[in-house]
Symmetry: D2
Subunit: 254 residues, 4 copies
């Protein structure tokens, strides 16, 4: 019998990759998609297999027409039923003033953070609806609940993501599809995203200042909660939860 599939859109070395690992450890086949870095992707797949887990990896440009749709179709046809989607595309580009935010950048934020989720849901949900079950774990950000200076593109895109999650939930939950909006409210110890945005030196400095073990959100531990939420009995589902390090101020306390 085919293993159930956990499809990870945005499977870097941070949240996405660790969620893939956790679900593989829990009996799923992980289909890992990321935009670039074939080497990193191979290493991730390898590390899962070396633990006895099952995974395949694909480079996928989410913004490209048909890219997500084709991957979903191929997965359902060739790998197994997508029981869990971990949608993990970010759209953070750092702070830019209104004057410095081009139309193109603004649109790209929406393409990544809002439209790609809509496309993924449009492609996956018919399969889930047929089976009467499925889970969408949508990684989201503080910008989904408050707009800060310099976040024109990111906040608009993430605000759209959150409202889209609520809409999907209203329509699909009663049909057995669990939609989860996970508000990641703090810096994540992730070399592929935060690390790249800050550069290696400043990233390492931040890690040291905060405490390397638990001062930033640790993807490996976050993945435990992603996994738990996906296992909730449908009498007791969570739609929204936040995650932050114990040393982080909550967004409403900044």
């Amino acid at each position: 019998m085919k293993k159930p599939v956990c499809l990870v859109i945005g499977a870097g070395a941070g949240i996405g990759g660790n969620v893939g690992k956790r679900f593989a450890r829990g009996g799923y086949h992980a289909v890992l998609c990321r935009r670039s870095d074939q080497e990193g992707l191979d290493a991730l797949v390898e590390s899962i297999r070396s633990e006895g887990g099952s995974a395949t990896g694909f480079l996928l440009n989410a913004v490209e027409e048909g890219s997500i749709e084709d991957r979903v179709a191929a997965t359902e046809a060739e790998v197994g039923p997508i029981e869990v989607v971990a949608f993990n595309l970010g759209a953070q580009i750092g702070n830019r003033s209104l004057a410095d935010t081009s139309y193109k950048v603004f649109e790209l934020g929406w393409q990544m953070a809002t439209f790609a989720l809509f496309r993924t849901a449009s492609a996956v949900c018919p399969h889930m609806l047929e089976r009467g079950k499925g889970t969408f774990l949508v990684t989201s950000a503080t910008a989904a609940v408050r707009g800060n200076a310099g976040q024109h593109s990111h906040a608009a895109a993430m605000g759209g993501r959150r409202m889209l999650c609520q809409t999907l939930n209203a329509e699909l939950a009663p049909q057995g599809i669990h939609i989860v909006h996970i508000l990641v409210d703090g810096a994540v110890d992730a070399p592929d995203t935060l690390g790249k945005m800050l550069g290696p030196e400043e990233f390492q400095k931040l890690r040291e200042t905060r405490g390397q073990e638990d001062g930033l959100l640790v993807p490996e531990h976050m993945a435990e909660t992603y996994f738990h939420i996906a296992q909730q009995h449908r009498s007791s589902w969570t739609h929204e939860l936040d995650l932050r390090s114990f040393t982080d101020l909550a967004w409403w306390n900044h």
Copy 2:
């Protein structure tokens, strides 16, 4: 001396038109833009002029490239300083299931409700910043704070609008530009929008059931609050407020 301008994007016979009238009565020149219905537009301009007010009207397809940008430039060059923008484009298309929401419809919602606001802000704000003052009155909808079944496009677009307003506010308020997110949380007695969506018969029935005087939001009265907010002293600004009829349940009580 040139009158200050109130630029209305989305000036139908409902909120937009009445906001234009109110500001004209308050000493502004109203620049009224709407997508279609030259006749209705002319009648609106005429009704303002017949009261002694000052207004001009333009058909404008907000989704068309450059349309808003050109109108802003022409207004600043030929009419007067845009002191107030009433951004009033809606993107409500009625309820559609996920399966019935095409990519095109989803994107159009974003084009109207989110991107058009970003474009307007990008075009107008440099002028306002130079003058150190200005007001954006952004009409918004319940879908900006909660996603309901069937609202995939609308909620995603309006959620983006709200977060964009907060971002604009965070950057621009300290520079003297007043950003206001007006949550219209109920049916508006507006023939051009609700009337068209429901059709004339059902619209009239709704008006009669609810009470024609005050059972729906009455644009003429809403416009008083739009005007008041634009006159607030900058020591005491409102960024967000809701509006509904006394008989309407608030969105959190539905």
Copy 3:
């Protein structure tokens, strides 16, 4: 004919006093209640009368059993119909750690901020319901929407206030009573509250740093919005709005 009454609970030299003045200027008889400072109260009444307005003042300890209830009864019997209540009692005591917050202090916060509002509503609403109209303008604080360190008593009390306002609104709005929750999200230029909390020197320093004209919320200007909201046509009511100086960060941006 008797003038309509605006009853101000918490009428110091800041928001309460200025709201009283504004409504007196607008044709109401202001009944001004405050806990102490007969001299200040007399001066306030006198300043209203010297402008041709109509007002009376009372020292009233809101925490004392029957105090509010008796004042409401006497006002209705002897002065005129209470058309507007401006409920303006604060419960801010500065930051205290959990260990330093006594049960007594915690309860006092609730007595002032939550229970006193419930008592006022219980006393006034039967009169308003009989007349089918009335307005409650409830001054509230950032602590009503987010709890910050050191705000155990204040946040719990204000959170209760906000939820009570929503409950009152759900029950009473359809019967013609307008309930308004006014989120004052910033420091107010008020000698009786902020001034006392900070002490005269630090208060003056803050005023100078921020800009005396508009860097703090100016009660005189805030009162314009209180007045406007109380005049809204019932087709277009606001239940919640925020107020802050243009230089203040919104609470969600701190």
Copy 4:
């Protein structure tokens, strides 16, 4: 070595009892407190022991002065370190109009839902702070985020509870104490609370209409999430999450 203690305040046959069972199964000693029904309490303790778990039970009137404080002190002195508190007192009394909500009822809601939590935190936190760790799992209700008609007492009390949780979190999280606000947004299949409020017949009817297995929130399954949250690594803590049955409308969709 002493087992860590999970102290349950409000340990009926619904959420509280099941949380106690789950933590006992996970290696904690459960200290179970409830107001009445010695028989039910004994049965609960017995069922835990029969599974090989460890528990003790106490009748405790939370509103009584010193009751919670004494139980906390005795537990710490005689049983073991309180590592987890499951605070589970409700204050729902059904819908009552403003006129039918007495001062006494209003105050009792606050005593149970807000003040008892403050007292518990005041009693337990010094111990937790000394150990640099601990978890508060606070069961909360929809009324904490929106006030509905008839909920004057309940909403004011729960609104206070939520803001208190945020305040506790802001102060205590950086010191290693995990505060969790669990928004139970739906009817719970609990004979001691919902069952009593509805009466046995209507309760059974509701269970049958909704589906007995998963149409109401099932405490046994909810307890899994309580347990998971208490085990989160402190790099990745959740402060707020919601729980509802897949067939329940979320509160913002009603």
